[in-house]
């Protein structure tokens, strides 16, 4: 036997096979081939789900939140690195930037819940200072329609990562050297930032940015605590359909799972095949 067969076999068994088997089962379930409701091949669940507005609003909302949160995090990271790189490289500020990495998403959600909820710290402080008269006049910042709470939690947890990433790239990509070269060629500080530093940082960080957008598209813990029932993010929609008492909702849950998988796996495949 080829000496590579065992390691490659183990890799496929624990990395590829579970996903492939899970998705195959989901597909078969959604087509009525397997499961307790198995009635033989049918496209009923697919046609019903695809006609359902919930699916499209969930996909739209997830894409919107993922893109907005990623864009805000990247933007904030860039502003911080361009504006105060030297400060961020000092010991204490640098340590502070790392602290969010010690917090799981569920804790971020809990913190934002306690901070921005209607009886949270912000509401208490605003009432104490007289800015808000009562709890009723405090705006809904969590479980809200615009998903502000969700996005705040996501941005808070991801912008430090991008800031640290850009700080690392600043050194590894010799950006100081390129900037000095641009200055000697006559570029102003602003021109150097927009034509040299930003494109270099973004080009290097592009795969990571896209990967984060993909992660945020399927985020679960944050909307679980801070999101709304309708519309809800895709992971919440799938979770809800799997947990309904009505067994008729299971095939629908599997249809949405397959759709999510097709979207995510195609993006990842294209992203890394190109790379």
């Amino acid at each position: 036997m080829n000496k590579n067969a065992i390691p490659i076999g183990l890799f496929l068994m624990f990395s590829v096979l579970p996903l492939a088997a899970g998705l195959l089962y989901a597909l078969c379930y959604s087509l009525g081939w397997v499961g307790t409701l198995n009635t033989g091949f049918t496209l009923t669940y697919w046609s019903a789900t695809l006609r359902d507005g919930d699916l499209w609003s969930s996909l739209g909302l997830s894409a919107f939140i993922a893109l907005c949160s990623t864009a805000l995090s990247v933007g904030l990271g860039l502003v911080l690195v361009l504006g105060c790189k030297d400060v961020l490289q000092r010991r204490i500020p640098n340590y502070l930037l790392y602290t969010p990495l010690a917090m799981p998403p569920i804790i971020f959600s809990f913190w934002v819940f306690q901070l921005m909820g209607s009886s949270g710290l912000l509401a208490r402080w605003l009432i104490k200072t007289g800015w808000v008269r009562s709890i009723d006049t405090f705006p809904a910042l969590i479980n809200d329609r615009a998903h502000i709470g969700v996005m705040v939690a996501l941005v808070l947890s991801t912008f430090p990562v991008f800031t640290l990433l850009f700080l690392n790239y600043y050194q590894s990509e010799n950006i100081v050297g390129y900037s000095q070269l641009a200055h000697t060629l006559g570029a102003t500080k602003r021109q150097t930032q927009t034509s040299i530093i930003l494109p270099l940082l973004l080009r290097k960080a592009k795969p990571t940015i896209l990967l984060y957008a993909i992660f945020l598209f399927g985020v679960f813990e944050v909307p679980l605590l801070l999101g709304r029932q309708s519309p809800r993010m895709i992971s919440m929609l799938i979770h809800a359909n799997f947990n309904k008492f009505n067994l008729m909702d299971l095939p629908r849950a599997y249809v949405i799972t397959v759709i999510y998988a097709v979207i995510i796996l195609s993006i990842v495949w294209m992203l890394f095949r190109k790379k």
């Binding site: 590579n4 390691p7 183990l10 890799f11 496929l12 624990f14 990395s15 590829v16 579970p18 996903l19 088997a21 899970g22 998705l23 089962y25 911080l80 400060v87 961020l88 204490i92 500020p93 640098n94 340590y95 502070l96 602290t99 969010p100 990495l101 010690a102 917090m103 799981p104 998403p105 569920i106 804790i107 971020f108 809990f110 913190w111 819940f113 306690q114 901070l115 710290l121 509401a123 402080w125 709890i135 808070l156 640290l164 990967l211 993909i214 992660f215 399927g218 985020v219 679960f220 813990e221 605590l225 992971s235 799938i238 979770h239 799972t257 999510y260 998988a261 796996l265 990842v268 890394f272």
Partner: protein, 256 residues
Amino acid sequence: MKKIVVFLLILVFLSPFAYFIVASVAVNYRFPLLWPEGWTMDNWQQIFRTNNGLFDSVFTSLLISVVTAAVSTSAGFVISKTLAYHTKRSLFNILAYLPYSFSPVIYAYCLYFFFNKSQLSGHIVGVLLAQFILTFPFSIILFLNHWNTELKAVEELTYTLGGSVTQAWRRVIIPMSKSILLLCFFQTFLISWFEYGLTSVIGLGKVHTLTIKVYQYIGESNLGFAALASCLLVFPPLILLWFNRHFMLANNNQYA
């Protein structure tokens, strides 16, 4: 400028930790009070009371995370070597990224049928296996970048100097890979330590890790215990961060 930035960073990043400590020792922290009426260590003392289950959940989380991290790091390290030097290296890289980028909770629902059939759902072994399936691709991705032509040349040199395969691993490859092994261990430990969605689905809520406890206390509106469990969840990584912050950043995905 420097002072403002530092102040803002402290405000944004240290306030959650401060809040969790305050909330875990607060008495009568009613709305709209800005500050609790009193203080108590009751919650903290309850960690060690057996009926509370918090101590058990710390132990369960620790056990699951250590085993998951140890197995995925060692398996990923050995297996990735073959994948990295194979002509299909880039294909293996993409294949590892596919499960890694998948939402853990949705992945858990895909796997649930198989775990249920094999009677692993609702059991700590099932959660361990599921978390391994989650962290293993990550370790493969991390190590694929580690195996390079220089490391291969050093290994070959060891053989021409008379070293056996075991000697090459023990005396050269592992010592030269110590930092990435530690990085991978801590990263996979953290993915497992922070995991909620997959654990709740595969564990059926019966495997009480710390994240499950936090969510349970939040659901019961038990602020004191939720804050206490949060402290227990975030302080170990925070201490690790103090000793070596570089273990914390490896292009990681907190949501995995």
